[in-house]
Subunit: 385 residues, 2 copies
């Protein structure tokens, strides 16, 4: 018997953003009830889930009360304090991914340390405490610019700074709110890749096709699945790196390994332990979406087939622009292209905010890019024809 | 401005069954809020929608209050009294499909009369009021058995009786609750087909691939999409018949035209003006599912592409059997076949009740049938390996 009163379990999702929202679609099919701990009744996921708790995920008692009504706890984001997660586990709550794994997605310093031990390919990097440390690193790697990252709390380009001299480094390190910094070489990559895997507590794991991501100012703008022109060897190398990290870190659920593609092979950039923007293409382009496989993994159900349904799927994010509301643009976009798969998040439009995405599935990647890009631009208000 | 406070409209669905539940998945993607008028908080759709009203759809005041918070009203079933729908329309409520169309799905006598006027191919039939009327019809069409149908209230084989003599006819006609009866020839069909179309208020319409349905005791058990071996001419004949009916009757939303396939061509059997069991395959096998196109149609948005994603999709219904709960069977089914798309409805298992369905998408229809049939049988508890 589960918390739902039947054999169907209740999955508690901490965070009410679009990732929780998009978990609801496969949860409906699976018959699994989703409860969401959201910041407000208007959150993206709050609008589409029957059972919503409003509360602060930074408060342990709130988390405890929420967990009481759930069979397993998982996450829409990685911001829950690690100590709270350990306290929940100690109290018998099933937390997936567990804090011992999740901490490597929460803390980039710990992640880099651990990947170094594993021998995963990573950029040159160093913990830093002062502008002098950064300058010393820059000298060692052949000069400026270098990349400073906050070890915790960053996302969508926040917490990442490219600096070109000691003055710039000093300014970044004056951020009093940031608990720690590291510095990295600016990798001369040819493109960015993402390798996503799902892993269950029993150790079963499946790897999605490796995709190419186009990032602008640290925000994912477009994804091409699979990465056009990627060789079988190269894709397998990236998938194996991701599977190895998932296994070694004990990840449960989805793991996204963002990578730099370089002439010398792939280098691991960032980890996310949840459904990830680079996997949204699979909602329409894969047999089993990342959201379904995340749920299956955290429930310790056998994983679904991550195979692509067509030669290519292209995803383009809809970022907030000049249009205050996306709906009126539907008429034009849908009439122009009946094959579009539009996904909006029910979020208030703010400039640059991710408010939805468009998927297009088919054979010719260039025409898919054109179609998805046009729809996203129209929905954003960048074009009017 | 809509009832949601933004430009995104609120769709009110009368009825909380699995059809309303499955509308929620594309509603999430479209950003459209679904409100459901359900019989209880435990209804299939009540579990997965944020805004649930509990009330009796046979009560006009309940319908009025529900409609007050919605921009458009549509249906999970066809049982709302026609007079109530006219009253709502008179009060300015947008009802789609409207009562003037819906009545032809509610009343089989009116439907047959209208299709006769349109010249649509239908079985020989007659209104009947007595066992003598039935016997007279049987004589005229060459003998027993014949089929008696209640003009209103039937579904899933209920309200349909095959009778083989006057005594049987007399027994059926003694049902005091039934407002009217008609009698039909027992059509010597080779198989049953379903042609589904979506139509918008502006008259745009799209036709889904024509599928074959396997019915057992009046309940849909399996669907093969497209109908294996169907010729282009034959499929177009069926699609054109469905498009013509949708246009002539002024349908808005999904229309399912269930047909008999005979050596002399297709004959129209039943109409449903809502998403229909014979269209569930498209949730995983078509670019745009019937649930998304139903929402688009009732919102007067341009319709999505009904094209199939693969050569075949097979759907097999999960009927209630010996297992009180479906979830424990997931482990075996998902481990055996990672490509299964399982959809359950959150309904209490009762013998013979539709509690879910399984889709499988691929190239070889025979192996798809084997896979989907196995999973449905396992989930039902008919087999244990």
């Amino acid at each position: 018997m589960t918390k739902s009163g039947s054999d169907f379990p209740v999955v508690g999702v901490v965070g009410g953003g679009q990732l929780a929202r998009m978990m609801q679609q496969p949860a409906i099919a699976l018959g699994v009830q989703l409860h969401v701990l959201a910041d407000s009744r208007n959150d993206s996921a709050s609008q589409v889930v029957h059972d919503v708790s409003v509360g602060d995920y930074r408060d342990l008692d709130t988390l405890r009360r929420f967990a009481d009504n759930c069979d397993v706890l998982t996450f829409d984001h990685e911001h829950v304090p690690t100590d709270h997660l350990h306290a929940l586990v100690d109290a018998g709550v099933t937390v997936r991914p567990g804090p011992d794994a999740l901490v490597f997605a929460q803390d980039k310093g710990l992640m880099r340390d651990r990947l170094a031990v594993l021998g995963s390919p990573v950029p040159l990097w160093r913990h830093v405490h002062s502008a002098d440390d950064v300058a010393s690193f820059a000298t060692d790697v052949g000069g400026w610019p270098v990349v400073i990252k906050a070890t915790r709390g960053g996302y969508d380009g926040k917490g990442v700074w490219v600096v070109k001299d000691s003055g710039g480094a000093a300014e970044v390190l004056s951020h009093a709110q940031v608990p720690g910094f590291l510095v990295e070489q600016l990798v001369p990559f040819t493109r960015e890749l993402s390798a996503m895997v799902a892993r269950s507590p029993s150790g079963q794991a499946v790897a999605y096709p490796v995709v190419e991501t186009l990032q602008v100012e640290g925000i994912c703008r477009e994804v091409y699945a699979p990465a056009p022109g990627i060789s079988e060897d190269h894709a397998v190398e990236a998938q194996q790196a991701a599977l190895r990290i998932a296994g070694e870190l004990g990840v449960v659920g989805m793991l996204a390994v963002e990578m730099f593609d370089t002439p010398d092979g792939v280098m691991v950039n960032e980890l996310a332990m949840r459904p990830h923007n680079s996997g949204h293409w699979g909602m329409d382009g894969a047999v089993t979406s990342q959201f379904e496989n995340h749920l299956r993994a955290v429930l310790d159900l056998p994983l679904g087939d991550p195979t692509a349904l067509a030669p290519f799927t292209v995803m383009v994010n809809i970022l907030g622009g000049d249009l205050p509301d996306l709906y009126p643009a539907y008429l034009h976009c849908m009439a122009r292209d009946p094959g579009l798969k539009i996904h909006v998040y029910g979020k208030t439009v703010k400039p640059g905010r991710k408010v939805g995405h468009v998927n297009v599935v088919g054979d010719d990647v260039d025409s898919l890019v054109e179609r998805a890009r046009h729809a996203a631009a129209y929905l954003r208000g960048d074009i009017d024809e």
